[in-house]
C-alpha cells in the first residue's frame, strides 16, 4: 500500500500556470516591500509619528501661558493667556474670585472678549455697584503681545467708571503668586505696606481694591497732616492717585514714586 500511495501522490504535480502566476505575484509583492515601490506602512508610520509630534507640540504651545491678566474688584482673579491671546486658565484668589471664575466661563475666548464678558456680567456689575473700582493688570514680559493686550483692555474698559489698567512685571507676578495674591491685590498691598508696615497678606486678601486704596489714602492723609507742621519741598504721591492719573499705564518696580 505504501508504494501505491507514494506512486499515486507522485503523480500529483503543480501545473506550470499556477507556478508562474504565483511567482509573478509573490515577486511583485516583494518588490513593493523592498522599495521598488514603497510599502504603505513605510509612508504611514513616519507620517503618523510626525502628526503625533505636531499635535503634542501644538497642544503644548496652546496651553503654555505667556501673559497673565489680573482683575481685581474684590473678587480677585487672574486669566492665563497664551501666545495667541486665548484664555487658557482662570484662577480665583479668594472665594468671590473663585466663584466669579466658575460663574462666568471665559476659557478659550480671546482675551479682550473675555475681559469684556467678565466686566459686563451681572456678577461683576453687582460688585462694581458696591465697590466702584476695578483694576486690570497685564503681567508678563514687555513685548508686542503685552502692548496689544493693554491696548485691547483699555479699549474695552474706557467707559467703565472706576477702572484702571496697568502693566506689571514677571518678577512682581511671581512675588504675588508666592504671597497667594493676584497681581493687582499684591501691588496694592505693597503700596499699603509702605504706609502701614504691619499689614499682612491675609488682611488684604479679602479686602476690595477700593478698601485698600481708602486705607492708603487715610494713612497718606495722616502723614500729610503731620507734615504740615514741617514744610517739605518734595511731594510724593502714589501714581494711582486719581489726580495724578494721566490715563497711561505706569510700570511698577521697587520704587514707584512720581514726583511733581
Amino acid at each position: 500500500m505504501k508504494a501505491e500511495v507514494k506512486a499515486a501522490f507522485d503523480a500529483v504535480k503543480a501545473g506550470k500556470s499556477i507556478k508562474s502566476e504565483t511567482e509573478e505575484k509573490v515577486l511583485a509583492r516583494l518588490r513593493r516591500y523592498n522599495g521598488h515601490g514603497v510599502s504603505a506602512i513605510k509612508i504611514a508610520l513616519p507620517l503618523a509619528v510626525c502628526l503625533l509630534i505636531a499635535v503634542c507640540a501644538g497642544g503644548w504651545l496652546y496651553f503654555t501661558p505667556t501673559m497673565c491678566i489680573s482683575i481685581d474688584i474684590n473678587p480677585s482673579l487672574e486669566l492665563s493667556v497664551n501666545r495667541w491671546d486665548r484664555v487658557i486658565g482662570i484662577r480665583g484668589f479668594n472665594d468671590s474670585g473663585k466663584y466669579l471664575g466658575y460663574a462666568v466661563d471665559v476659557k478659550h475666548m480671546r482675551c479682550a472678549d473675555a475681559v469684556e464678558v467678565l466686566i459686563n456680567s451681572k456678577e461683576v456689575s453687582s460688585y462694581m455697584n458696591k465697590e466702584g473700582a476695578i483694576e486690570i493688570g497685564v503681567a508678563g514680559k514687555e513685548n508686542a503681545q503685552s502692548q496689544r493686550l493693554m491696548d485691547d483692555i483699555r479699549a474695552c474698559t474706557k467707559d467703565v467708571e472706576g477702572s484702571r489698567c496697568y502693566n506689571i512685571s514677571t518678577e512682581e507676578l511671581e512675588k504675588a503668586h508666592e504671597a497667594g495674591l493676584s497681581c493687582g491685590k499684591y501691588r496694592a498691598f505693597e503700596e499699603l505696606r509702605k504706609v502701614a508696615p504691619d499689614v499682612t497678606y491675609e488682611e488684604v486678601r479679602d479686602m476690595s481694591i477700593r478698601e485698600i486704596r481708602e486705607q492708603i489714602r487715610s494713612y497718606n492723609d495722616k502723614v500729610t497732616m503731620s507734615n504740615e507742621t514741617q514744610p517739605d519741598d518734595s511731594h510724593t504721591c502714589i501714581a494711582e492717585d486719581k489726580e495724578c492719573d494721566t490715563g497711561q499705564g505706569h510700570r511698577y518696580g521697587a520704587n514707584n514714586k512720581n514726583s511733581h
Binding site: K2, V5, K6, F9, A11, I18, K19, V26
Partner: protein, 161 residues
C-alpha cells in the same frame, strides 16, 4: 524578507508538496490557487530563518495545512470539484493510480493528512505529531484507523502495517 531568487527556488522545490496538501483538503482549483499564493507570499515575507532544509519543508507543510483549514472555514470558499476537473489545471494524473487517490481522498480529513505525511513524505509519527500539534499516540491511532479504512476500500492483502 526573502530574496527573489530564494522565493523562485522555494516555489520550484515545494510547489508539488503544496499542491498535494491543497488537493487533500480543498478539492477546488480556485481555493487551491489562493492557498498556493498565500503560502509563498508568507514564505517571502514572514518566514523565519531555517536551520536546514527539512526545517524549511516542515514549515511549508504547516503553513499550507493551516491556510487550507482557514480556507475551509472561509465564507468565500469555492464549491468543491472532482479530481477529474482539477487534474487538467493542477496536476498530471496517472489514470492507473487515480483509484488510490480517490480512496485516500474519501478518508476523513484527519486521516488523509497523516496518510500523506507518513506514506509519502515519510515523516515518523513523532514528527507528524509535532507538525500537527497532536499527541504521538493520537497519530498512531489515526494511522492505524486510516490503514484499516484504506485496506477495506482498496482491498487485497500484503499491506504494511
Amino acid at each position: 524578507m526573502r530574496s527573489e531568487s530564494e522565493v523562485s527556488k522555494a516555489i520550484d522545490k515545494y510547489a508539488d508538496t503544496v499542491t498535494r496538501l491543497c488537493m487533500l483538503y480543498l478539492k477546488s482549483y480556485a481555493d487551491t490557487e489562493d492557498v498556493f499564493q498565500s503560502v509563498f507570499i508568507k514564505y517571502a515575507v514572514k518566514s523565519p530563518d531555517f536551520e536546514n532544509e527539512s526545517h524549511e519543508k516542515a514549515w511549508i507543510i504547516k503553513v499550507t495545512i493551516n491556510a487550507c483549514k482557514d480556507m475551509l472555514k472561509s465564507f468565500f470558499r469555492s464549491r468543491t470539484v472532482s479530481i477529474e476537473e482539477m487534474s487538467g489545471k493542477l496536476f498530471v494524473k496517472d489514470e492507473d493510480l487515480s483509484y488510490v487517490l480517490e480512496a485516500v481522498l474519501s478518508l476523513p480529513e484527519k486521516y488523509r493528512t497523516v496518510v500523506y505525511l507518513h506514506y509519502y513524505e515519510e515523516y515518523t509519527a513523532v514528527e507528524i505529531g509535532q507538525m500537527l500539534g497532536k499527541n504521538v499516540n493520537t497519530i498512531y491511532t489515526r494511522l492505524a484507523r486510516a490503514k484499516e479504512l484504506l485496506r477495506k476500500s482498496l482491498g487485497g492483502d500484503g499491506y504494511e502495517s
